[in-house]
Amino acid sequence: MNLDDRVVLVTGGAKGIGRAICLALAGSGASVAGTYRSSRAEAEDLVRQIEAAGGKAVALAGDVSDAGDAASVVARTIAALGGLHVLVNNAGIVKDVLIFNMEPADWQSVMNVNFGGVFNGTKAVLDHFMAQREGAIINISSVMGERGWIGQANYSASKGAINAFTRSAAVELARFGIRVNAVLPGFAPTEMVSGLIDKGGKGIKRQLPLRRFASVEDVAALTTFLASPDSAYITGACLPVDGGGSAQLGLGRPE
């Protein structure tokens, strides 16, 4: 997949899945802007890594749960890299807690970063994308947006909102040459879900048809495809990268 001359902006690009996405997109020829909120060292390290491989990248501080910050990182990307063609709304957090013990702030903060980040990022690129009649938006969601998990009602709701928003945005923006899709990772061992994986990793893995966790590169590969012209006819899709986990009923076998 060739992304030469394309400029991409990846929110939450310093760590985990976002970092893998930055590396994959840069590897396909794109110039990459990655945003970070607190992980400045990791973000700058990523830029050096991409530059060492002959690519072009910048790290931008910004909190995409804030609409002003989102607009600012979009403007800074265009100024630094000379354009913008692809937005990857990746920034996300978890705050796992049982609903019984959940405070309003527990779901509001998760909603503000996860869904708010998608909304703010999308809104921030529209004027530019609509004027050039070209753009791809990829929302990094989760299979949790389509299924449930104990302790993740807030996260699950935020991802469900992203999936619904993805479909509506795709319908509304198609005529402007903008495609909008979502990537729904299953269990990908990153810092964000390390607690879950450490605690129940073996039991979860046994239940997955492909019998392994997603690698961050698996998620980045689909994202790269959705960013490229190879996916020109795909919009409004919420595509799982979950080893078949959400395809099965129960364990897919008696025990």
Binding site: M130, A131, R133, E172, R175, F176
Partner: protein, 134 residues
């Protein structure tokens, strides 16, 4: 026709945004009522025009252009739900076709845009182009 140098671009933008043949887009056709444009279609037209003419018009500018800077309370009578004389004379400068339509004292504010024609959009683009180049 006034400002006819912009008519081809406007006709093309309107036709493409609405999925019409260009010959269906006449200067006198009203965008909303006769051609069936909705808000997303207007947005589409304005972005297409930005590309072909270099003139950037925000959707919100449309209402401002029509009202011509006249304060709300002088433009329309909220109680009677009708455009006031000062509003009517402003409207006739940007939508001259209203002069022949016997609408004085009868035009409801919410109906104003339904009279907005392809030619009115051509004139708007021309006025913005003049502002940009001056």
């Amino acid at each position: 026709m006034a400002n006819e140098e912009f008519f081809p671009q406007v006709r093309e933008a309107v036709a493409e945004a609405l999925g019409l043949d260009e010959d269906e887009v006449t200067a006198g056709a009203t965008l909303l009522d006769e051609l069936g444009a909705e808000s997303i279609d207007l947005l589409d037209m304005l972005f297409r025009l930005e590309r072909t003419t270099g003139v950037k018009i925000q959707a919100a500018d449309l209402a401002d252009y029509v009202q011509g800077g006249i304060p709300d309370e002088e433009f329309g009578d909220e109680e009677l739900d009708v455009i006031k004389p000062a509003g009517m004379s402003q409207l006739k400068t940007v939508m001259p076709q209203l002069a022949d339509m016997d609408l004085d004292g009868k035009l409801q504010p919410e109906k104003v845009m339904s009279y907005f024609t392809v030619q009115n959009l051509v004139d708007l683009v021309a006025s913005r182009a003049a502002t940009v180049s001056s």
